[in-house]
Symmetry: C2
Amino acid sequence: MDKNTKVAVLGGGSWATAIVKMLSENLDSIGWYMRSVYAVEHIKRNKHNPNYLSSAELHPEQLDLSSDINATVANYDVLIFAIPSAFLKSELDKLTVSLKGKVIFSAIKGIVPESGYIVGEHFFEEYQIPFEDIGVITGPCHAEEVAMERLSYLTIACIDGHKARFVSKCLKGRYIKTKISDDIIGTEYAAMLKNIYAIAAGICHGLGYGDNFQSVLMSNSIREMKRFIKKVHKMKRNINNSAYLGDLLVTGYSTFSRNRMFGNMIGKGYTVKSAMFEMSMVAEGYYATKSAYKINEKNGARTPIINAVYNVLYGGKEAKSEFLKLTNRLN
Amino acid sequence: MDKNTKVAVLGGGSWATAIVKMLSENLDSIGWYMRSVYAVEHIKRNKHNPNYLSSAELHPEQLDLSSDINATVANYDVLIFAIPSAFLKSELDKLTVSLKGKVIFSAIKGIVPESGYIVGEHFFEEYQIPFEDIGVITGPCHAEEVAMERLSYLTIACIDGHKARFVSKCLKGRYIKTKISDDIIGTEYAAMLKNIYAIAAGICHGLGYGDNFQSVLMSNSIREMKRFIKKVHKMKRNINNSAYLGDLLVTGYSTFSRNRMFGNMIGKGYTVKSAMFEMSMVAEGYYATKSAYKINEKNGARTPIINAVYNVLYGGKEAKSEFLKLTNRLN
């Protein structure tokens, strides 16, 4: 990894756009793949992503934009994936070039629905990428605040510290601080689990619970997250670091979080189907809930919050009675 | 402690009123001391506290109201103090009857400015109340939500589990759940320290930092709180329990918190004096900051957030530059 290492971002959403913006502060040239030919052309001409984070000014002269995923993968060494997990598999299915020798960083917060893996595991299991070549970029970070250049802290995790430091150097700057970690499993699970807790927070809000209860829910959520992750991958980690607790809080307390909004509608009495229809999208925590529940069936951590959300989203249980039961399991 | 044990609340503010409301659900008769003769008469006639939490309906037939602190102290066994810490000493100075044999529960979140002690220590040092007779009632709990009967969780701490369970039984009910703890020092310091972190959160908000940074600040605050309390009183405690982390979050994320509001004004450029004048009151975290700073000078925990707040409130430092320095000390 040196000055000649070429970095690309894959994805056309808010978070991908925010990452491109951060990289633009440090790198002369950045590869950027997105599916939409229209968006590529729009960015080249108007210096803004037409669909997401459109307030962020982009610099097309630094960008090697492409709507051909094979071209981007073939030409770049470090591939930062920021494609929503629900679309990752269909994007990867387009690949005809090899991922061999590539360094893969996941900036995706979720589970690949088809495989049930978190993103790092998916690349390891399905593409035989060695764990030393897999990394994670995690918040707490709303993309919108990156656009506004508000100070944000990222955690860059990779077992190979050299690669973590390289990506960290590419991202950090005036309004971005970075921290290095070697916990690729824990940080990625945290990023995925927090969406479930954000759904829970939304459901409670929709049901009329107040701020006192929300703080109890978050306090229980971080303890539950710790138990869950410990069963998946036991190592020394401080669950109160920004990548875990901070990420949970920025999502759980955000009224803009799609997962929280989705939960709020469920709490207010929408069916799962109609909430999804109203939002015209699927909240990532929806898939995460099922996967986390299934994973934990084997692992057996005490996870009353995940269970309650699962029972409501997949078990046909009524939110009101299910969360009333939950209140007796929290403290 | 049995059915004949008599319980009184001392204080006339929101939190005192909320505690009286909770007790009224379980006890036939409650002593209630408040300074204001007018408020006592108003409650008797109108079933509401005229000044605080006036939406809560009170039941004068259950209340032994008094504006004579000596009468209340003399006649009751368990005394729940909910007087703001800044006024505690002047109230206690009125005592002519003895506190000997009384069980004292503190529902006060702060430091006694004159002695520099947390409330439990103050009673131990100044009144020789043995630690087994001292307890703490702590949140996360906004009094306003108790008035609305929104589900809230309290932690009742006492070294003597029997006393903790007794008070817990008096408080819990339809909308109140309780948890027992033996960490009277830790829970009380947490309740005090959280006000400093709420001031810090307010300062950052006033300076224009966003949600991404707030979550990093809270994540760092709970780690700092853990280090601070560990130096004061080392014991096995889970800092992520509701009494510590939950209490921090409900205050740090509340836009109604007076401490956060005070910090916000400082961040927006008010001087300490003018912010106090505008609020026509002193935020409890103001005193807590000085005490915590002094205590930690001896203990030597790493407390960059407390130090930054101290430097702004007492050291004449500019909030903007002090908090810019702070951002480099967080992660």
